[in-house]
């Protein structure tokens, strides 16, 4: 089996928690911090750490605003994040095709 696609997988996205965040954000224009936290059953600290890692990589942008006088944090994928996510999916599909072709 050719290990090339596996070696090309983006390590930042490949981590379970970050992959879940990227998947949720890929299907929505933006999601609030609490929506992500509740949907993925993560702690505030855990989610903050993962989002920060994705932000540093330029995959996720975070916007802070107010709604009904309460702070609202929303996250969305950047164009670079969408591209990296699409490439990640392509590589996964390649790996699956290789397995089936064996």
């Amino acid at each position: 089996m050719n290990p090339e696609p596996f070696l090309q997988l983006d390590r930042v996205i490949h981590e379970k928690g970050r992959l879940a965040i990227m998947s949720m954000l890929a299907a929505a224009p933006e999601l609030s911090f609490t929506e992500l936290r509740d949907a993925l059953t993560m702690t505030d600290g855990n989610l903050t750490t993962h989002i920060r890692a994705l932000q540093q990589e330029g995959y996720v942008s975070v916007a802070k605003s107010f709604q009904n006088r309460r702070p609202l944090t929303t996250c969305s994928l950047t164009p670079a994040g969408r591209k990296a996510f699409a490439e990640y999916i392509n590589l996964l599909e390649q790996i699956i095709r290789q397995t089936k072709g064996k």
Binding site: A27, L31, P71
Partner: protein, 211 residues
């Protein structure tokens, strides 16, 4: 190298994407719309004394179709607003999950209306059948949607079965009530049920966002 993980990863990604897709965000207005239309149809049925089999069947079949196309329009408007594709793979999965029950309801109702043409009391049986089928449709779609939708599916399913049992008992003693009361029950479940769930979604989503 074990590559099952790749397929599992893709499945997880698909599930998570479905949970945050467009129809999920359009769910509260869709439920409120369906509830409003259901309550309005029940009120019309009661006020205009629509007690014949034909009137009962037409009223609720048209109401179901109107609610269905209204829901599609609301979801499409939300998709345009969010600049997202409407007919996406997640949306297709939800429709596929609901389609068998919807189709069974549509064909079953058409056949039943021919059979029950001369006896309005027979149309009573449509009510629990619709509720059970609709409950199954919601339950099927619930695998790609928030957990609450499956609970609503259970509510329709179990209530439909309970009404079926009560009707069977009433049928034995030949005391099935006039068809007008079926409009009340339709209003309670298809009107009130949707309105309550829509209001719940609206309030909880608002609360979730503001944090």
């Amino acid at each position: 190298m074990d590559t099952n993980w790749a397929a599992e990863h893709l499945q997880t990604i698909r599930t998570l994407m479905e949970r945050s897709a467009v129809y999920r965000r359009a769910l509260a207005p869709i439920m409120l719309f369906a509830g409003f239309v259901g309550a309005l149809a029940a009120a019309a049925g009661i006020l205009f004394h629509l007690e014949s089999s034909i009137a009962f069947g037409y009223l609720w079949l048209d109401t179901a179709l109107f609610s269905f196309f209204g829901a599609l329009l609301i979801a499409r408007r939300q998709a345009i607003k969010d600049k997202e594709p409407f007919w996406s793979p997640p949306a297709r999965r939800v429709v596929q999950a609901m389609l068998p029950s919807w189709l069974a309801g549509l064909v079953g109702t058409s056949v039943f209306r021919v059979v029950a043409l001369n006896d309005p009391r027979l149309s009573w049986w449509l009510l629990p059948v619709w509720m059970v089928l609709y409950g199954l449709a919601l339950y099927g779609a619930g695998f790609f949607m928030p957990r609450g939708i499956r609970l609503l599916g259970w509510l329709f399913f179990l209530s439909g079965l309970a009404i079926l049992v009560v009707l069977a008992i009433k049928n034995i003693s030949d005391s099935i009530p006039p068809l007008i009361y079926a409009h009340y029950l339709m209003g309670i479940f298809f009107g009130g049920g949707h309105l309550a769930y829509g209001a719940y979604l609206y309030i909880t989503e608002k609360g979730k966002n503001a944090a």
